[in-house]
Symmetry: D2
Subunit: 347 residues, 4 copies
């Protein structure tokens, strides 16, 4: 059994991590921290948890460092920088769910997050935790930067085609619709029930921090400089991201040829499914699971042609906690799907 700790366990991603880890066949959760809930029992804070005696403790790294072999960090960005460094220096493996080690360039990080990166050598060691792209490097990583929720949905939608000659990488459009849990659990007025319910709105148009992360990874995958327009929207569901991606074509191709690229690219992947002709991904079908559903469409009505790719994930699972456990499984030599296959309730 691997001893693991969850730092920052009282948010939505943290509680989903706990949920999976507590029934994982190969791990033991030895500590979970929360500043706001320190001292409280986990099952008293999250009433859907039962049969666990875990209590939240404060974030005291000198104590925590003795308790586990692998650490999941659900801490605010910037706080994560130092915590990752501390644990890494103590020889521990770390999966960081914050944005702190996702961007390869410290300058880009500084520009988008308004704070310098103080651990550039560690940044070089960190591996971007998207198994469908980096499985081999994750296997030997000591620091995994778990991807952002929107980037997972966007990168998986584009990875099979973005590097192809027919793909115009100059202004890929990613229009994403996300549930409210993506915004976290801290009470703010715009996320109150009556403000979100019965409404839809765009936010952070042209300025969302996941933009450089998506561009970085698509550029690495394609070997070309990819520029995106990314527009996130808030819709009244608890969970789920549906991304509708528009990719202009420079050359000719056919829908069957493109579908084959997708099937080949994700062949053998346990968590990605390419849907058949005319079947639409919905967040309903992925809610509560670690899966990503993708459909591809070809628009041939204009002089230009475009691919329209629709992907669906659960933002808290494939977009956060599920990916993190998948990464842990890979890093630890477990079956990659361990703890992640119980089919979710629906509807």
């Amino acid at each position: 059994m691997l001893n693991v700790a969850v730092l920052g366990g009282s948010g939505y991603a943290g509680s989903e991590l706990l949920r999976i880890l507590l029934s994982h066949p190969h791990v033991k959760v030895t500590a979970v921290t929360s500043e706001r809930s320190a001292g409280s029992s986990v099952s008293g804070t999250f009433l859907h948890f039962r049969n666990t005696a875990l209590r939240f403790e404060p974030l005291d790294l000198n104590t925590l460092v003795k308790k586990a072999d692998l650490y999941f960090l659900c801490l605010p960005h910037r706080t994560s920088q130092e915590t990752v460094a501390f644990l890494h220096n103590a020889g521990k493996k770390v999966i960081d769910l914050s944005a702190d080690y996702r961007l390869r360039s410290a300058a880009t990080y500084r520009r988008w997050y308004n704070t310098p990166h103080l651990f550039r050598s560690l940044l070089k060691k960190a591996v971007y935790g998207l198994p469908e792209i980096y499985r081999d490097r994750i296997r030997n990583a000591s620091i995994v930067a778990n991807p952002g929720c929107y980037p997972v949905s966007a990168i998986l939608a584009l990875a099979p085609v973005i590097g192809k000659d027919f793909a115009d990488t100059d202004s890929v459009i990613i229009d994403s619709k996300s549930g409210a849990s993506g915004a976290g659990r801290s009470p703010v007025q715009p996320l109150m029930f009556c403000e979100v319910n019965e409404s839809v709105r765009a936010y952070a148009v042209t300025t969302h921090r996941h933009t450089p992360e998506i561009e970085q990874e698509l550029s690495l995958v394609s070997g070309k400089k990819v520029k995106i327009i990314f527009t996130p929207h808030l819709i009244p569901v608890n969970r789920g991201i549906l991304s509708t991606v528009y990719l202009r074509l420079r050359g000719k191709t056919t829908l069957p040829a493109v579908q084959k690229l997708y099937r080949d690219f994700y062949s053998g992947e346990p968590f990605v499914r390419i849907l058949g002709n005319g079947v639409y991904p919905s967040t309903n079908a992925v809610r509560g699971g670690n899966f990503c559903d993708i459909s591809v469409f070809l628009d041939r009505r204009g002089r230009e042609r475009s691919l329209i790719i629709v992907s669906a994930i659960d933002n808290l699972l494939k977009g956060a906690a599920g990916s993190a456990v998948q990464n842990m499984n890979i890093m630890s030599g477990f079956d990659e799907t361990a703890g992640l296959l119980s089919p979710p309730p629906c509807p």
Copy 2:
């Protein structure tokens, strides 16, 4: 491995049954039927299913009877009567999720369901499938009448106290709030999204068919003739029943004494939890799981005193498919919680 079949597998309860059974450690699903989806694959009909090659087949009993040892019936009432009889006569175990074998009295059945009961001797053999009350009899049952969703929430809320001297059994009030999945998957105008969303309403006031079922069981538990007023309400959630129960007191008691009755009654029960003082059950905490949360309150403001008991279940799980699997586990000598403990996603 036990071979099981699900007859009527394309509704919400049926699909939840399939979901649990497909990952159950001790069973193999050998057949699933659906008239409307016959010929279709299960994973094509329910996109949240993956990794199953199962296909829906038509309800042909002569074929089906060779395929399994235990049958779950999610068929319309009246159709279930004969199907249970056929399978029972062939020596099979049956768990019937319809109402056909729940009422002990054929006359009561006829009055509430407007159709005669044609298998009265079988009615005598059937065991009401609420493990917290009938565990021992379920163990040896060949026909289990799986309880209705509202009755589960109401009976569990009242069982520890309804037989006590202090309980006034003459007009227990049960005010229940249910999600829309309880009404099934067939398209009707009042269950369209825009009709249910942003609204709440009562329905079937004084006439709901679960009334005699609740009265029968509370009378059996208490040894007294119990009369209830049962008012169901439809609220805009997919799943969950919250029942608020009002029980007048004839004699004196205290809240701690009553709470002890509940804790003792459900001591050792794997799926019932009595919440502490001032903690409120919510369907959020039971959604996706086989659990029932209960809180008890004492009102001492009037000349009369009353208990207010609040219970929460997931109508598709503890109120249908989860109970059914729990019953199968008991009937088959499996661990009673097998397949039922994976913690549900929340929120």
Copy 3:
């Protein structure tokens, strides 16, 4: 034109008041206050407002007292006490939407609100603002205590029968289901979208502050000491209260006779509708309007018989802002329905 001011206009009730008043044929809104939004324009804070140049100003009574003839107060309880007194002493009419002047007894107020009442002589002058009961007194009132949202739904449901000989007034049960706007606009964790959505829960069982208000008014209407059990529930809708009321009968009566009592009692009332046999009130049908829909049912299954009365209102309108405007219309000699009849959008 009557000059009116809204003190505390940036909450949900306040914004609904503004909405009605800004298109009311006989009034002019001359001031609106908000501590948190002082200085902002109303249409910038509430984007559904257009065509108004109003700006929120701070609560400076010496300035405000010169601006209007009638004041609507949507202030926190306790703050309202003094503000009502100040404006009353300046000769102004006041409609107070807080709880401060609703309870006749200062001792009861102190017990439930944990603060003394410092203006007992004014308390005597205040009229409880439920037109269906107190229309004549409201006409000449200078201080109107606008009723709480739950009390409106409960009192209107019971007023026609609570004083009758057949009514058992000793433990009336009121089980209410409310949308989230009733809890206000301040950000707190339990009212975040993901906490409310897809869930239902009871709260404040036996302790809700609307309990003494309902008991006071039902006692006054009936001439008997009425004791209630009141259980509020939070459901995932923006607006609406559905109250299901259980009233035991001491004597015999019939459903047609009871329905006639309701029709007679509310004969000529512009905002109360008694639905026909088997028609169920829903919050859908009253959302966005100042109406109350009521249905009555008779349960004759137990030895005892009970009435089940279901009422539906919009908590922000008939339960707050709509009632307040109705009271203003009465106090000012306007048509009682002025500004209140535009039919609401549905669904």
Copy 4:
């Protein structure tokens, strides 16, 4: 008073039309038809209606033609063709909410609607009912083809810039999110509450029938052949369309310059509002009203630059019934805003 009739009044658009017309200062509703509800009272079918004695009658044109001067048609496409012709030939004015008279080209109509157009001369007479573009022609029209809901949101978002030199009209992308009322009131399984709730999905990708309508109008406005990619999505709200539009720029411009184009274009328009910098349209702010909110953003991150335009409307009002009444007002010489300005409830 103008006598008007609503043919097809028992759907969502029809009931919203009735709602507005019944409180409109200058019209009298003399007939309303419904095949499914013929014989029923309007207020019994739609419980949110009060104070109307109207009853649904069957669609008998010989009777109906005597009853009104102007007819609103909410009939299925194809049925509308003949009904429009019949009423037009009888000298009546018609506002057709179906798609039958929206497309200028009978061939295009036939290709997208799989049925021939039998009244080509009338097609030439029909005016597309978007007042912001065609106000003068609507004034004298006898047949108005009321626009589709998605087209209203898309055309208003693009009209001020689509004809400019800097606009690349070759593959405009329109990503729209719509509430469920847009799909109508007939019960079908994919629109059941549990299927829509807590989910989001795309549908009709590259094949939605509003595509040629949007292209036709944008081409007419711009004088260029405009090609769009239009992707509709279903989100779990009753009402509202949010369209996020991506327009590539061929030449240079600035955000302030573009914003000025929008403000100038819609200067004096009573129902279109251009929001300030960084303010996001939400369906919350337009729900229940006849308004369209628009914000414009400029993305300058890629080599190419793009405008991102976000528009919000209520699909049943500005997207259907509200526009229809606005058109009637124009055709009849009434104040264009008559009946349309009562501010909507929010939230």
